[in-house]
Amino acid sequence: MAVVTHDTQYVGLVLVSHSGEIVAGLAGLVGQVAGPDVPIATAGGMPDGSFGTDGGQVLDVLRSAANGAGAGAVVLMDLGSSVLAVRAALVELEPEELERIVVVDAPLVEGAVAAGVTASTGADLAEVADAAREAVHVSKL
């Protein structure tokens, strides 16, 4: 788990995957494209280093993002148990925490890049979530 906090009003990202390397690499890529201002938190892999999604870690990261200094966070996950872990964590959050979190149904890499760039422009939580959702429809070829 890596949580990067900034004392800013930028919307942040929470990236959830079966692999810590996937989300660490993706956080690095988003930082390159979107610049250093967007807070990015990650949850990936199991405590023993194996592939999987650790529900406790996901809850900690979501709670931290919901209570951070920024303008809320957009949550993106890869598939399967990542989605289940995020759903389970949402049940544990307080209503005021949920107001600062938007879980987005979008491809992880493309959604994170789109959301990160949009967040870096100072866009609000709804705008950043919309940018991530756009990743479902934009053609690569």
Partner: protein
């Protein structure tokens, strides 16, 4: 020219710089700073200049001539600024 007119400027990418993720990110972040709509046309495609995924999707290689257009508030400033950015991307 009325304030609502579309402003169009051509700008060629440097030979060695394709409009890949990082350069596209710089473009989109700059475009987002203007209130007007910005469109990039290249390779027979059009992209919303404020959408990183659409801009990357143009597949514009180094040396490609981009047509930048904007309409609305700040359109002239936007295309001038963005054209200068395109020509100096690295």
């Amino acid at each position: 020219m009325s304030p609502s007119s579309e402003v169009v400027v051509a700008a060629r990418l440097p030979e060695r710089v394709a409009l890949h993720a990082r350069p596209a990110g710089r473009f989109v972040r700059a475009a987002a700073g203007f209130p007007c709509a910005v469109v990039i046309a290249a390779n027979g495609k059009r992209a919303n200049g404020k959408s990183i995924l659409e801009v990357i999707g143009l597949g514009a290689a180094g040396g490609t001539e981009l047509e930048l257009s904007a309409s609305g508030e700040g359109a002239v400033e936007a295309v001038e600024h963005l054209a200068a950015l395109v020509r100096t991307l690295d």
